[in-house]
Amino acid sequence: MTLGWDVLLPILWESLGETLYMVSVTLLVGGFAGLLLGLALYTTRKGNLFASGPGFTVLNVLVNIVRPIPFIIFITAIGPLTLAVVGTTIGTQAAIFPMTLMATFATSRIVEQNLVALDPGVIEAARAMGASRLRIVATVLVPEALGPLILGYTFLFVGIVDMSAMVGAIGGGGLGDFAIVYGYQRFNWQVTFITVVVIVVIVQLAQWLGNTLARRVLRR
């Protein structure tokens, strides 16, 4: 039987809340951890502030191993780790863990790529002025790359929404779960379609916000 919207709407509403919760936590925690990892990748490169051949190689290989793993496989592959850390592999909380990990690795590359575009002369000048290395990271690297970084995070947001829909497939909750359970499995195309519209709206809003912020920062 087809469920009516009087039943579906509250569930859609709840699923939207779960998705926004998963995406926000992932963006904050994974975004921050990814910023640190990206800074580490960039600054350990040859000739850079914390240049370290072995350090860079370890980080670089680690990121290269994790990032290409399809997310749906990644979720199941790190299941035992999720169980150990979160205590369960089912539900929204359990979904956030692999999402955050994957987002960290994805962010690190975005951060690294934006930093590589910086003029090394500016870093050299900051060193020559007697700014400590950590001060250079905090007051030159991050602020100078901020505009492109915001656009990078916006790009990342779309990827995280994508991940959040995928965790629905393994009982993670959220809009993906809603679309699968009430749309796909019940042959209710209307539900699938409306879920798509909701996700598109979320992504559009995020893109608009990211563009606006980046424009403001770049125009300083």
Partner: protein
């Protein structure tokens, strides 16, 4: 000011060993204006990096006012750069998102000065280089010569004892080059700085009191400079 003994610097570049400096012995007196010339890859910039405590020699000793730089940790060298040495670069290296005033202030942050004192000193330094009314401009709103003057203000605002300049006029046209050199000479005389300029430009080198030549990692003295500071009025 500087006392260099048997300074060697060796790099490894793609499994190839490069001896950038092979036993440099050099004394630079307080208040000297020294130009260093030489072919590309001869060791000019390496020497300047070592004088500015940006890097450490592979062996040998570099004393700056009796302080041995060769053995200092990164943080101790950072402190030397913050207090004692001012750097000027060929490409100006201003932070593009900050105004001239803010750029000069960044040079004072490592000293731990308060915001008010930073602002005051930066404004004074900009006035010293004749750019007081450009303080609120962004680097891309300034000409090359003006950007280099901001960079010089940034290097001098902390009142260093040494100014090290790596091809400071390399990106400038002749007229602007002359202006910048005249300004550097004026600051040299007014502030009693020790100045070391690395340059490709013989005209720039001839304005110095003392000219050094470095090639293949070895420094030699060139004659025909301006002579001692007492007779700076005439170019010999």
């Amino acid at each position: 000011m500087y006392e260099l003994r048997d300074v060697m610097k060796r790099y490894t570049q793609k499994n190839r060993i490069v001896d950038a400096l092979r036993g440099v012995n050099l004394t630079i007196g307080e208040g000297e204006l020294v130009a260093i010339q030489g072919p590309t890859g001869g060791g000019k910039s390496t020497l300047l990096q070592l004088l500015g405590a940006m890097d450490r020699p592979t062996s040998g000793s570099i004393a700056l006012d009796g302080l041995e730089l060769a053995g200092l940790s990164e943080s101790a060298r950072t402190d030397v750069r913050a207090r004692t040495v001012g750097f000027v670069f060929q490409g100006f290296n201003l932070i593009p998102t900050l105004t001239a005033q803010q750029n000069v202030e960044t040079g004072l942050v490592p000293l731990g000065l308060g915001a008010a004192e930073r602002a005051e000193r930066a404004a004074q330094a900009l006035a010293d280089v004749g750019l007081a009314e450009r303080a609120a401009h962004m680097p891309d709103e300034l000409s090359g010569g003006q950007q280099q003057r901001v960079a010089i203000a940034r290097a001098l605002a902390k009142r260093p004892r040494v100014l090290l300049a790596d091809e400071p006029t390399g990106n400038l046209d002749e007229r602007t080059r002359d202006e910048i050199m005249a300004m550097i000479e004026r600051l040299w005389q007014d502030q009693g700085l020790t100045i070391v300029i690395v340059t490709h430009d013989s005209w720039v080198a001839r304005r110095a009191q003392r000219q050094l030549w470095i090639s293949d990692g070895v420094v030699t003295e060139k004659t025909g400079g301006r002579g001692p500071k007492a007779s700076t009025a005439t170019v010999r």
